[in-house]
């Protein structure tokens, strides 16, 4: 029998970026909040210090800060005719574990997604006609606008110490920034990071081709900084150990630096670590949830934490899993296309070329998480005509280094022997002489890409694993083909001594690492028939349940997700405090 605990105003499930933001905001507003985090409590002083944090084997290859798949994982397959099998170890993406979540070991690249995403169906239909969108492409408008989110983007950028260069201030294009970004009220919190040599070369080459490169915005503090909540950041030291590592300098915008301490200072907050939430409890009325059930991993005992409000902030994939395990909403069925929970799972695509320049010294180990220049000429640039190419969406082109460490990054020209003196000779020659050009591409929703509960495999708690069905479709392949061509053209224009050309991805595979940019599954929208939550991330059925994370994105952009994830968390916190608390009930009528 589970032990029933005392009721609180709100229970937060998972204390990473979204949980941290909700904890800080709701406790500031005077609400009594309990956060349940499955992992351990970790922080800079004890866990992310030099020299031990500079350990590629431990953090990159042994996944020390990540979810342990022995306890819980997902099953994967490319299409519904296959049998899904468990992702037995992490690969393609790396959900975090412990206080701070993936926000500890992310890179910090922070974008503002625009109306081109939020109004995707309307914009493409208006410009290209209804037939341009394939029948199985289940994209839909998000029900929110850039203008609504703008102040919350700013709030997230200033909280997370985002360094960058504005490209569009209140409609005025700014030299050196991204001219295709949507207008912003203020510049970034901090000036851009120093430009490394590879980014500089990319920048110069892109300008020669008539493109519009800019330093990517990133939550790596380019200078010492204090955020609006008084949290202090050190300046980035370009140590070269950013993604998958905690930051020893507190220069990375991470929840355990930026927001969680704010909550922890409040008497309204309680954190319970090693608390694995297994389900959300429902009131028989079908209108309210009553709290959550969890297992204390320190002794195996089960608890019920009653709460007036439940906030799922357990990372995109885990949020969807908890919804399915709790039987909330109708599970999505790709055949009948009925139901909503599990719908529109999306990932990202991309291509990459390696360039080798005899005589150059790129020093790939000197870089911040955001040491990269990018261009949006084929992305947020709506003037780029997708018509002749026949795809929906867009892709960035970019170059630079981020965490280029020697076990994982051993650049050699194709055709090099894989071992022996010949291999060493090529690696020694090229280690300092290579750079790459990447493209990151959007993935549009497809009726067959979705989540449901696996019929066979179980996690350590005896619950069904979640099943992921995903593959790239013709839309992504067309886009990838163009992206590869443009990457290769740009690479050639730089006259490398040799290069390994980019090629479009064909099919999704669970190895190797690609990106932890999983989206969809409990999407937001304008009505409950086609979405799981409304524009305030409030569940349509249970009005005191909010589901916060990239799981609410109806499709995936080429950009990294955490900009809008953070902005939506602030937007939701605001709605809870200023709307819902005053008048509990549905914030949007169905």
């Amino acid at each position: 029998m589970a032990t029933r605990l005392k009721e609180v105003d709100a229970v937060i499930v998972g204390l990473g970026w979204t949980g941290g933001i909700m904890a800080a905001e709701l406790t500031k507003a005077g609400m009594k909040v309990v956060a349940l985090e499955r992992g351990a409590d970790r922080g800079t002083t004890d866990d992310y210090t030099v020299p031990n944090i500079r350990d590629e084997l431990r953090y990159v290859h042994r996944h020390d800060l990540m979810q342990n798949t022995a306890r819980d994982t997902i099953t994967v397959r490319n299409n519904p005719s296959q049998e899904a099998l468990p992702m037995r170890r992490l690969g393609s993406f790396l959900p975090g574990d412990g206080v701070g979540g993936s926000g500890v070991h992310w890179s910090g690249v922070t974008w503002r997604w625009t109306d081109q995403e939020f109004n995707v169906r309307t914009m493409y239909e208006e410009r290209y006609g209804k037939k341009f969108i394939p029948e199985d492409m289940t994209i839909q408008d998000w029900g929110i606008s850039y203008a609504e989110l703008e102040p919350y983007y700013e709030k997230f950028e200033y909280t997370a110490a985002v360094s960058g260069k504005a490209g569009n201030l209140k409609g005025v294009i700014q030299p050196g920034g991204n001219p295709f970004e949507a207008p912003r009220a203020r510049d970034y919190a901090l000036p851009p990071l120093k430009t490394i040599h590879a980014s500089q070369m990319f920048n110069d080459a892109a300008i020669k081709q008539g493109y519009h490169p800019f330093p990517i915005p990133c939550a790596n503090a380019s200078q010492a900084y204090t955020n609006p909540d008084g949290q202090k950041f050190g300046a980035c030291q370009y140590c070269g150990f950013c993604q998958r590592f905690g930051c020893e300098a507190n220069a990375k915008g991470s929840p355990h630096v930026a927001v969680i301490p704010v909550a922890r200072r409040s008497p309204n907050f309680e954190l319970r670590t090693h608390a694995w939430v297994t389900r959300v409890m429902k009131d028989p009325s079908g209108k309210r949830v009553t709290g959550v059930q969890y297992t204390n991993l320190l002794n195996g005992e089960e608890y019920e934490q009653p709460a007036n409000m439940v906030l799922l902030t357990a990372y995109a994939i885990n949020n969807v899993h908890l919804m399915l395990l709790s039987g909330i909403g109708e599970p999505y069925d790709p055949v009948s296309q009925k139901g909503v929970i599990g719908k529109n799972y999306c990932y990202q695509t991309g291509v990459n070329a390696n360039l080798f320049f005899d005589g150059k010294n790129f020093n790939p180990f000197m870089a911040a998480g955001g040491s990269r220049f990018a261009m949006d000429d084929f992305n947020t640039n709506w003037d780029f005509d997708r018509g002749p190419h026949g795809f929906v969406g867009g892709f960035t082109l970019s170059a630079g280094f981020n965490t280029s460490l020697p076990i994982g990054n051993r650049p050699v020209p194709s055709g090099t022997p894989p071992w022996g003196t010949g291999w060493k000779a090529a690696l020694v020659k090229n280690y300092q002489q290579f750079m790459n050009i990447n493209s990151s591409g959007s993935v549009m929703a497809n009726r067959y890409n979705c989540f449901d509960l696996d019929p066979t495999y179980k996690n350590a708690f005896g619950q069904p694993l979640m099943r992921m069905t995903f593959d790239y479709k013709a839309n992504e392949q067309k886009m990838g083909t163009l992206a590869a061509k443009l990457v290769n053209d740009l690479a050639k224009s730089m006259n490398p001594t040799s290069f390994n050309p980019a090629r479009a991805r064909e099919s999704w595979t669970v190895v190797p690492y690609q990106s932890t940019h999983n989206t969809g599954g409990t999407i937001m929208g304008v009505n409950p028939k086609v979405s799981a939550v409304n524009k305030y991330l409030q569940n349509w059925d249970y009005h005191n349940l909010f589901v916060i994370g990239a799981n609410v994105f109806p499709h995936n952009n080429s950009y990294n997700p955490t900009g809008p994830v953070g902005a939506l968390a602030y937007w939701t916190a605001d709605a809870i405090i200023n709307k819902y608390q005053k008048n509990p009930g549905a914030l949007v009528s169905a």
Binding site: P51, D55, H61, Y238, N361, P406, R410, W508
Partner: protein
Amino acid sequence: MKDDGINRREFLKGAVAGGAVATTTAVGLAPQVAEAQQKPAAAPANPGYSYLNLEEAAFVEAMVDHMIPADQYSPKGTDLGINIFIDRALAGGWGKGDRLYMQGPWKVGHPNQGYQLPLKPADLYRAGIAATNAYCKKTYSKSFDQLPAAQKQEVLTGLQGGKINFEGGLPARTFFGTMYQTVMEGMFSDPIYGGNRNKAGWRMIGFPGVVAVHAQNIEKFRDKKYVVEPLSISDLS
């Protein structure tokens, strides 16, 4: 080693005193090339194996010395401690599958679905070595460690390219993939794990190791070689 007359494994099998082990490993195996060009600190004694048995140790030593030969770039694999790295990795949490989802049912699946064997890395290694040696004995009448370089090359290339199939069902390429990854890990991970001895892997490519501060170096070393003595975790502990 191939012309030693008595191979090391046979020697060890016959050896009574453990003390002989250290001596044999250290003596006579360091090639002149490495000695001359790398001037390694006194060749370290083999600290002993925690997981690998004699047969497996002989295989791993031969394999890492073939993949990472002594030359102008680095000492050979065993002098870098890659064999020790592999042994410790297999003996430790990773080798024992501490983060591997190990529940059945087990299916072959599609390569896109990733690793699907009911074997933890240590078991995979053990079975893979046995299967490779069985293949070598059948094909060349010798175990892998006894083969001349050209035949070692043939075997490793065959494993990598999927040309060799093991009897008994173990997928050879999966074994090779794991083995290759551990060689690279042993070459380039922090020396605290037993490989990359004297930071020779890092030195070879010019990776500076555990550096905390580069903010000033971005400008200073723009397109210039950054030559420093690499630092490891134990250097700073």
